[in-house]
Symmetry: C2
Subunit: 402 residues, 2 copies
């Protein structure tokens, strides 16, 4: 039950010239579901990515990072869902390499020109044979971005995709992206899996800058449960088949579109957060540094007590103040104000005399609302997006493997 | 439904000479429940305490800390449940001071010789009149440690108390303690509320040392939900009415008993954690520093995914590796081993070939088990205690105020 998320997708998903998509049902973890995606890139396509900082990062993440560092042209991405191939040691690496080798032969490139991605259960072995058996089907499939989004889902209840057209100096380009993720979401570099592609021709150097900045304003600003995944990867592809980016203005147009697509996808992950019934924007303002504001925002977002109060539409808002107090930020509590949407709940560190519980309930009953903490200490601010903690979160995660 | 916790209490609770207890039903939040405790101390009793580091710490915490710092003789403790008097600003301080003033008049001491404590809902006003009306009843009540433990409960399902007799050089002394807490439990100095008393005569200087060390080995080693409370307080009283501590051996006997009582109470809080169905001991061994081991242990203990897997008895143990990986500790994942009780689950950073899921399920189905992470990097270790995350945790906290 995703919160305010149009299904299957919000609008037309523009194909990206130079990016060919194919999916297959490989039976990786369960039969009869799309679970394998092959993305082929035109020669000359530029690729940049950011990855999880989890030290137990998955075998495919290690290989994808290495292959990207190699500065080769990347010709294919292979993505499977069902098994994360994380916490699998040396054996996991060998299995991921086998997938790359086979995909390279199929596509006609070198194994180091393939990027592998996996998502699903941790610490189980990747069924290489099933993936190898499925890849020819993915190769012959004429898939689109919607079927690609479907083929990478795990506990997601809806596919997540978004698309924009932009005008560059030399013509019109598109930016289209997909993402997956619903649990183990507290990206520390990127989301579980996100892929955004444009047909614009742009240098790899610039692409590497945008991918970081877009991640910092989107996937790195969300949390469902505070669990940073072992497999987070966010990849940006520029196929070069469309108009060239030829001016500073073009650069910022492209970056804006990539950021917008990324924010849509990141927020979609929260809206479809495991068991989510509420989509909450957390803003911490007038702090001394952005890092301080972010720390406070994440402490609120990760508090199980705050999250269950969101679920209950119960304005037990002292729990928010408690989280501000314990997060380690050096705040002067006597200066803090707290707003729920436009309602002033607390001022000078205590309940505001005019505040009435009914106002809090009314704000929290809505499927979307904003919590705003004003520190009155400086000029920095940060916004993140999160969801509530419901019975269904426990149900989904207590039953995930069964 | 507390996990393996004898009800109402494990064994006889020895009275502590020089400590008089009385409780009352003051109707602070709900009618017909014991919600007010008055603890009177003999003249000359020594008192030491440790308190929450939450910056939004409650008004009574601010006053209790100040009064303890004043090095006066403390003559009375007043504890209420129902309302935490935290996040209440200046008004909260004034209300807590009024309670101290009235209690002082009743007991026959100065207001600064009274320590106030509150626990319950944050950001609501303390009903001073009800407490003042209830105090004379508490004064005339001839209560015991069990009724005292009952009078400080919030979402606790069982009262928590423990008692020990010890032999000192000059005779037998007792150590008896009570605690409360079930949610908002991640003490950063002490638990929600814990009171341990001995009749032994011991200097305040030594008492201040033991209270810190005992807290560090008990209340500072537990977590239910990672939410550090605004009201955590742990108080150690030595009434001086029993035998004097007269040798280094006596000192360590007393410290050991205080630590043992504190550990029992701290573990009781986890066993009675909101919605808890499992009591889990988390040990991280062979790390480079105790701080590193603790950081890893808390990351595991706070992961909602790990906690829901505990609830489901589902050995989805990759979630534990993921938590080790994202907690920020600089670990070499290729050296890590993971044990569930005596079962070797993972070695060298990956699933152990001999490990079978059935073994994991068998261990996790027990109401108590140990998760042991071996870093193979040094000689430090840390142990903490935690519980699972169940449907009932969400239920309790979604409905807490109603």
């Amino acid at each position: 039950m995703a919160v305010n998320l149009p299904a299957p997708v919000p609008a037309a998903l523009h194909p990206v010239a130079g990016v060919e998509l194919g999916v297959a049902m490989a039976g990786i973890k369960r039969p009869d579901r799309k679970d394998l995606l092959l993305m082929r890139l035109a020669p000359g396509a530029q690729v940049a990515g950011v990855f999880t900082r989890n030290r137990f990062c998955a075998a495919p993440v290690l290989i994808a990072k290495k292959n990207l560092l190699g500065k080769k042209n990347i010709r294919a991405l292979v993505v499977n869902t069902g098994i994360a191939n994380a916490g699998t040691g040396r054996d996991g690496l060998q299995r991921a390499l086998k997938v790359c080798e086979y995909a390279a032969r199929l596509v006609g490139c070198k194994p180091v020109e393939v990027l592998p991605f996996s998502t699903g259960v941790i610490m189980e072995a990747l069924p290489v044979e099933r993936i190898i058996a499925g890849l020819p089907h993915a190769l012959s499939d004429r898939g689109d971005w919607l079927s690609a989004a479907q083929a990478i889902m795990t506990t997601d209840t809806v596919p997540k995709a978004f698309s924009r057209k932009i005008k560059l100096g030399t013509g019109e380009a598109v930016v289209t992206g997909i993402a997956k993720g619903a649990g183990m979401i507290r990206p520390d570099m990127a989301t579980m899996l996100g892929f955004v592609a444009t047909d614009a021709a742009v240098s790899r150097k610039f692409l590497e800058k945008i991918v970081k900045r877009a991640a910092d304003r989107s996937f790195n600003r969300i949390t469902v449960d505070g669990d940073t995944s072992t497999n987070d990867s966010f990849i940006l592809v520029a196929s070069g088949k469309g108009p060239a980016v030829s001016s500073p203005k073009d650069l910022s147009t492209l970056e804006r579109a990539v950021t917008e697509v990324s924010q849509y996808l990141a927020q979609a992950i929260v809206r479809d957060g495991e068991g989510a019934t509420k989509f909450v924007t957390l803003t911490v303002e007038r702090g001394r540094s952005e890092a301080e504001c972010r720390r406070i925002a994440y402490a609120i977002a990760h508090s199980p007590l705050v999250k269950t109060a969101f679920f209950a539409s119960d304005p037990n808002l002292g729990r928010i103040l408690a989280a501000v107090g314990y997060c380690g930020a050096n705040v002067d509590v006597s200066r803090i104000s707290l707003y729920l949407d436009e309602v002033l709940v607390a001022a000078k560190g205590g309940r505001h005399p005019a505040y009435r519980d009914e106002q809090g309930v009314a704000a929290m009953r809505k499927p979307e609302f904003t919590v705003r903490v004003v520190l009155n200490a400086g000029k920095a601010a940060a916004t993140i997006w999160t969801c509530d903690l419901s019975f269904d979160y426990v149900k989904i995660n207590a039953e995930y493997r069964t």
